[in-house]
Amino acid sequence: MAILNKGILGGFSGKAGPVTGSRWRGLYIIKSRSKKKIKKKNLLPQNFKMRVMSKFLGKFTKWIRVGFYDKKNKQIPYNVAMKLNMRHAIFGESPNYEINYKKIIFSKGSREPAWSVSAIPEDDNQIKVTWEIPETAKLNQIGNDQAIVLFYNKLKNRVMVSLTAKRIDLAVSISVPIAFQETTLEIWMFFVSPDGKSVSNTDYVGSIG
């Protein structure tokens, strides 16, 4: 049974015969009912790839929205990220696919990228991530950019983020919570302008541990 939330003028929500009505990004949409579930032996390589990638990328949805922000693009940021990473950042044979962490991207843009990134473990469970600004860069324009440093714990499939640093700081120290200690951490970073409209490409910082 579908419900007309706004009477005859609005969209409807719920199942009505072969279709389902719902609201998505401010639009009233109608979808056909989902197909029967595919049996496991009939799954395609693409299905396995998708599972590996979405398990990983799903944890980063919030930051993908920043990194792939594009007002004009009708595709949602997560789908753009999924498309690009499925194309470049996955390897292996069906059904055992793995993620190539070096090629993962969480942002794509024309802003000055991070240069010479490195991550060094320090005392008291701290990790120091450093980067450089080339001499020729326009520091007034890009100095206040927010540095977004992303940490991924493969073992527990958990994400940690540092937003405390500006580009001009050239370094950021992060104290690692217990859940992230004694495992391998994968680290990426990118920059976003103060108004959020311009981002840099993602750089793979490295893995620690």
Partner: protein, 216 residues
């Protein structure tokens, strides 16, 4: 993109998935067809664009100055169209499907000012030292021309550039690079821009340098 024919008020071209065109004196419309497969020659052209556009896109801020006053084939072109038309396919080598950029033939600025004479570049630690002959007597040269330098790192698809360096009379300028962790290939270019920014010289390829770990 459809174009409005001013006299009759008709559209010619594509709007959405409809195409309008002239057929036996009448304007007709039809839905756009679907391409089922591409020939190798078509794929080659697609790959050419795929090879060169990450390079040109990253250098947007440089070629915006480099092609600002370059004559265009079409008045609607912008700097990027000029850059693409000068470099694709002239600066692409190899046969499909092994296409790559021929960095020697890349042009990143074009204009009437004389290009740098005998340009050389040396890598000293993390600093690129460019030198050239200060030939102020050449026709069109001015001693207040400023040098434009560019370094491109093909492996990481990043760039460092300077659009207003030393004067032509100085004969040398340095471009400081960030530090590197691994061996890095560097492609370098040099050009001049006029003091009033109304003209540039045609860019010159100054060669490939390799930063080795042993240097540091």
């Amino acid at each position: 993109m459809a174009k409005l024919d001013g006299a009759s008020g008709n559209f010619i071209g594509r709007i959405g998935n409809m195409v309008y065109y002239l057929l036996n004196g009448k304007i007709v419309g039809r839905t756009i067809g679907k391409v089922e497969s591409y020939s190798d020659k078509q794929l080659e052209i697609q790959m050419r664009t795929a090879v060169i556009s990450p390079f040109l896109k990253t250098l947007n801020d440089f070629i915006r100055i480099g092609f600002k006053n370059t004559p265009k084939e079409d008045p609607n072109w912008n700097f990027y169209n000029i850059a693409m038309s000068l470099n694709n396919p002239q600066a692409i080598k190899g046969t499909y499907p092994d296409l790559e950029i021929n960095y020697e033939k890349i042009i990143l600025s074009e204009g009437a000012i004389p290009s740098p004479k005998n340009p050389h570049v040396l890598l000293n630690g993390n600093i690129l030292e460019f030198t050239w002959d200060p030939d102020v007597d050449a026709k069109g040269a001015d001693n207040r021309d400023q040098v434009m330098l560019l370094a491109w790192f093909p492996e990481t698809e990043k760039t460092v550039f300077l659009t207003s360096g030393a004067r032509r009379t100085d004969g040398k300028e340095r471009l400081k690079l960030p530090s590197f962790k691994d061996d890095t290939i560097i492609e370098t270019y040099i050009s001049f821009t006029a003091d009033d920014r109304t003209d540039v010289s045609t860019s010159v390829y100054t060669g490939q340098l390799i930063w080795k770990k042993a240097h540091a």
